[in-house]
């Protein structure tokens, strides 16, 4: 399978601290890939390099064969790369609907159209309604983001990331802070997206990841320690020796 998104031998250093040693990753179209690893392993840093927050000290990032290394975050986002953040990142003063509308490519393209009334654009409102329903927030479009429940806010983050019409979606610990009900709900949501676009998820919740992912990569000490299908990883020595073993 030809890869949609490729990271080649990435290295990321901050001063003389090397956080990513040598990371090579491939994500195919429609694939759901998991990334796991202990705290401080460099998973978030890896996402930050892939989505343009940091420019890698070495290596290359390609989307559909095109070199996107060193492009700025908004340029990478416009090419169809969307992400969520480990720490909740929403527009808190906006309603759920406005959070989504703000991320629509249609709105972005009219960004300098200063005579256009956002509120009068029924296409924006309709698209937002579809997305709200898709992430399980139908009927809550008028609620301020800050007033939503924690679980709803986590769902809205995915809605905002989806609204940007991505080809590939990076989710950084989407279940963090959620209880078991919330996690189950999010698993169902991500399961329903599976196959429609490429999804890459950093997750500590192994049950969650093993049930959803086609492939999993283990990152540790800034390197890809192991990768393969969930089944293959169950048999991997490192994974067996880590706290993952408790799962089985």
């Amino acid at each position: 399978m030809s890869a949609l998104f490729e990271a080649d031998r990435l290295q990321m250093r901050f001063g003389n601290r090397i956080v990513l040693e040598d990371i090579t990753l491939r994500f195919g179209p429609g694939e759901l890939c998991g990334i796991m690893g202990p705290n401080g392993a460099g998973k978030t840093t890896c996402f930050n390099v892939l989505t343009g927050r940091y420019r890698p000290s070495r290596g290359q990032v390609r989307l559909d064969g095109e070199d996107i290394t060193g492009l700025r975050p908004h340029e990478i986002a416009r090419k169809g790369v969307s992400r969520s953040f480990q720490i909740m990142n929403l527009f808190n003063d906006f309603t759920a609907r406005d959070n989504i509308v703000t991320a629509l490519p249609g709105l972005r393209r009219r960004g300098f159209d200063v005579s256009h009334a956002v509120a009068a654009n029924s296409a924006f409102a309709d698209q937002a309604e579809v997305l709200l329903e898709r992430v399980g927030l139908a009927g809550k479009g008028g609620v301020l983001a800050r007033s939503l429940s924690y679980g709803d806010r986590r769902a809205l983050e995915i809605g905002v990331a989806l609204a940007a019409a991505p080809r590939i979606l990076f989710l950084d610990e989407p279940t963090s802070g959620l209880g078991s009900d919330g996690t189950a709900r999010l698993a169902a949501l991500i399961g329903s997206l599976k196959g429609q676009l490429t999804i890459v998820i950093i997750e500590h919740d192994m049950r969650f990841l093993f049930s959803l992912a086609d492939r999993i990569s283990v990152i540790h000490w800034g390197q890809v320690l192991a990768q393969g299908t969930p089944q293959m990883l169950r048999d991997n020595e490192w994974v067996r020796n880590s706290n993952l073993g408790k799962l089985q």
Partner: protein
């Protein structure tokens, strides 16, 4: 559609229309309440200035604390253009606007990757530079003596040439410009552009990662705000038939911040207008009783910052309705904190 989104799609809202109609009648009654038409001109000019300023402070969350520089640049540009190039009202106003845009763009190019306290400091530093230049360039600006003999040029519409020397005529002229700016700004803040500015205020990182060019929005909104402030400055030079460096000082730059916050610019489109009117009314009414009026206004400002950062407009909104989930007061505090906190 609810009332708010209906209003936000309108060219002119009922409130706007009512306000402008009321202002149209102002010369008829302002003398009877013990005030004078020139005060009306001043209020409109400062309201225009504060509205432009609030594009940054309230909408984009960008603290510009040296904004008097652009107001002053507009005043000088208006005067210098009519003295040295051509005494045409329209061209002089364009010159004021253009000078503000250019000066604003120059500064914005240096600061648009910043936010929070760094942004605030840099705007102060640049503001001081322009102020010092205005004082030192004596041969051009007249230094502390000011640029004098600026004429109230007639408004030439081709078919009619209207003399603006009289305060009532000038009031209507300034009102016309104010009304156009009010309508334009209302469209702007409710457009995708305004929406993205507000998104940037709340979360710059999120805005960038959904594809918005945050730097470009911050650059353009600063330039635009400086340009419109300079237009207000041009009208000010015309009103007082002179231009002085004091409006560019840090001191005067603070006035527009006070007006905007007291009026409720952090939570309302109308905040800056309310604040400008209150400020100048307080100057004249309290100032008639005591020369220390600024002390009282300063105390009011402190009280607003400490207890009611949502300002008069937010307090009024709170009386009418409660924003779901969060009171105007909490919103005011959150936005005030975010201004200098400089997250992301």
């Amino acid at each position: 559609m609810d009332k708010d989104s209906r209003d936000s799609s309108r060219l002119v809202t009922p409130a706007m229309l009512g306000f402008i109609v009321l202002l149209c009648t102002l010369p008829l009654w302002i003398g009877k309440v013990g005030l004078y038409p020139y005060l009306g001109i001043e209020i409109l000019i400062w309201a225009l200035y504060a509205l432009s300023f609030n594009l940054l402070l309230g909408y984009s969350g960008l603290p510009s604390f040296g904004h008097g520089a652009y107001f002053g640049i507009g005043a000088y540009a208006f005067g210098l253009f009519q003295h040295n190039i051509v005494p045409s009202l329209w061209l002089c106003l364009m010159a004021a606007l253009g000078a503000g845009l250019v000066a604003g763009a120059m500064v914005a190019a240096f600061i648009s990757h910043r936010r929070g306290i760094y942004y605030a400091f840099m705007t102060i530093a640049f503001g001081q530079v322009f102020w010092v230049v205005a004082i030192k360039a004596h041969s051009i600006t007249g230094g502390e003596d000011g640029l004098l003999r600026i004429a109230r040029l007639p408004a030439d519409f081709g078919f009619a040439n209207i003399d603006l020397a009289d305060n009532t005529a000038l009031f209507y002229f300034v009102l016309a410009i104010f009304a156009l700016a009010l309508i334009g700004l209302w469209r702007l803040v409710n457009s995708p552009y305004g929406r993205i500015l507000q998104a940037i205020r709340q979360n710059e990182t999120r805005a960038a990662f959904i594809g918005h060019n945050v730097w470009l929005y911050k650059f353009t909104v600063f330039s635009l705000s400086a340009g419109l402030s300079a237009l207000a400055g041009g009208l000010f030079a015309m009103a007082q038939t002179s231009a002085f460096p004091d409006v560019m000082s840090l001191h005067y730059s603070g006035y527009v911040v006070m007006m905007t916050l007291i009026g409720g610019g952090l939570v309302s489109f109308w905040g800056p207008v309310i604040g400008a009117a209150l400020f100048l009314l307080a100057r004249d009414i309290i100032g008639a009783v005591t020369t220390g009026w600024m002390l009282w206004f300063g105390l009011l400002f402190m009280a607003v910052v400490l207890f009611k950062p949502e300002g008069v407009a937010g307090w009024w909104q709170g009386l009418r309705q409660r924003t779901a989930g969060m009171s105007g007061n909490a919103t005011g505090f959150a936005r005030l904190r975010a201004l200098l906190g400089g997250r992301a």
